[in-house]
Symmetry: C2
Amino acid sequence: MKTLHDRLKTTLGSGVDAIDTPALVVDLDAMQRNLNRMAEFARKHGVRWRPHAKMHKSSVLARLQVQAGACGVCVQKTAEAEALAAGGVQDIYISNEVIAPAKLARVAALAHQLAAVGGQLAIAVDSEEGVRRLAEAMNAQRAAGAAAAVIDVFVEIDVGQGRCGVPPGTPAVALVHAIRRHAALRFAGLQAYHGRAQHLRGARERRDAVAAVVRAVQASCAAIEAEGVTVPLVTGAGTGTLVCEAASGVFGELQPGSFLFMDVDYARNERDAAQPAFEHALFVRTQVISVSADHAVCDAGHKSHAIDSGLPLVHAVGGEPASLEFANGGDEHGLLRGARLPALGDCLWLVPGHCDPTVNLHDHLIGVAGGLAKGRIQRIIRVDARGALG
Amino acid sequence: MKTLHDRLKTTLGSGVDAIDTPALVVDLDAMQRNLNRMAEFARKHGVRWRPHAKMHKSSVLARLQVQAGACGVCVQKTAEAEALAAGGVQDIYISNEVIAPAKLARVAALAHQLAAVGGQLAIAVDSEEGVRRLAEAMNAQRAAGAAAAVIDVFVEIDVGQGRCGVPPGTPAVALVHAIRRHAALRFAGLQAYHGRAQHLRGARERRDAVAAVVRAVQASCAAIEAEGVTVPLVTGAGTGTLVCEAASGVFGELQPGSFLFMDVDYARNERDAAQPAFEHALFVRTQVISVSADHAVCDAGHKSHAIDSGLPLVHAVGGEPASLEFANGGDEHGLLRGARLPALGDCLWLVPGHCDPTVNLHDHLIGVAGGLAKGRIQRIIRVDARGALG
């Protein structure tokens, strides 16, 4: 039997009607415009950008971002880093804590593998135990004969997210000292990401939240620098707040993920005047499989699109008003209601509520060039870190 | 680089500490008890059971169910049917509508492929257009030289779910006649599933809902039989209501999926006295990667477990009270709060809120025998229809 990838490749060059539903489709032109907007924004503000690949989980898209000027990518998981490295990505930052010795052995192996090709691995820590275990894993690699590599280590500060990270101010100091005691570890700076601030709806609310982030970062930098240690870089920010971090004078690197595809949730944010006009580039194509008197049913449920940040919206292609309302029909179905129902067999486009976990449901992205209405299938993009949880 | 499957296989025979987190783990003993309970229940009530493989998406588990007495399995998607057939499952019912001609060509090809090995494919319809297209696809296979196969066709009745299906009563008649006009299609009976009724909390509420289902089915049967056509089988039911359908005298086949693993959502149902005592058999193993003054953070977020039916619960292994509260920490993190926080590096077991979409996030299930506390990794089960959306 043909693999799914083989079957998808036979559709290259065809129109969108050749897409088997449900499928995750990227409007390649819109994606490229988002990429250009991000590159231009970072250039204008003199900051580096290291997009978060937890969103797209694709080495092809990570390399596209690096070609467009990104300094590398972030990931959240060791297995994501491994998958992207296998796909040719060389500068990767695991912006998260790793504690299991078996996983740290993989982190250390990857650090050496990337160093051998001129690349670089980085990771975040928020505990002395984490630093100690990381150093042990790096030293074990060296003891096993690997050419000495160094891993960049960021100290994570809890700047309001209430998740990982040490409190702002002096707690970071002990970690910085701990890192600097190990030749295989290099203190690379501070990880300061406020995830919840990304989704505050008002532009003013987000600015206030990031002002507090900046104060927390400054307190941590001051405590570290009082010990005579320079903080090389502060990294953080997401699609929702990046205009604030970029203008802060404190952040040297931005980590947005969703800007590339956008989603319904981010589109609900009041747009900051300085925000680049990112547009929707990710869609679920779905087909109507049943029609009754008062509703239609399509073949996309929450195994096709994540619903943690709300349901998808029906996207109007070609400018007509989107008059259909999408309701949850379970794992495999969507319910459509509206004044004019679609016909049996009609296909629709949905904009997912949250792009990251939606992409994680799909093995491939179907790249369409020339617009959704009349475009052609131009490339099949593997989501090669899909399901890379560990 | 080793594949994930290779890496997992090296852990066979090890204790649970060898499980890389986050991972989806099956308590094989609990699963087997659930399987035995279901087989015994069906035997006692003289009904067939055709478990829904949309839940586990695994050909290994489908074959295990058939060995335990199931007459075959249900799926929702053509691609699921293909994946399970490739894994050796021979009796498959696509309990859903398929409309796309390209997909119906695959359905017809699969029907012939299964018939060639003595198996059988079935499908649901709810429109004359759907019947016409299905017949066309089957006839095209025959015209292409395939040995004549027959596909079983169920007419779906909307018995309260408000999704697919024709209204109860006479509307089914036209579909039955349409099916019977085609030599390659065999009218197999009625599909009558009320998904929402599964999750009504009160046992009485569920009984009332299924009483209405039974009336709807009887009206449809009466209308069909008034035309001199026998209804060979009524199929439906889920884990929440199966005691009602089994006792109805109308349903000849039950389609439960979740009974095999159970989840937090089904455990919230008031148990009907007649309900087999299904127990939790599916768990996310997760590790604490960060600890602060008032909470701990584990490495399982909603890329590891679906949250459409609520958050997972922390499972007490070994009888101690489950005192930790799990809160949503985003795509990759869980937040743990409680009087006594776990230590950095500790591992915990979570019971997922909803098993179906949780399994769909994982490529493998780690099968543990001998209990979660002190058991051994006994088998690695591929989720071979994971992501089979089309």
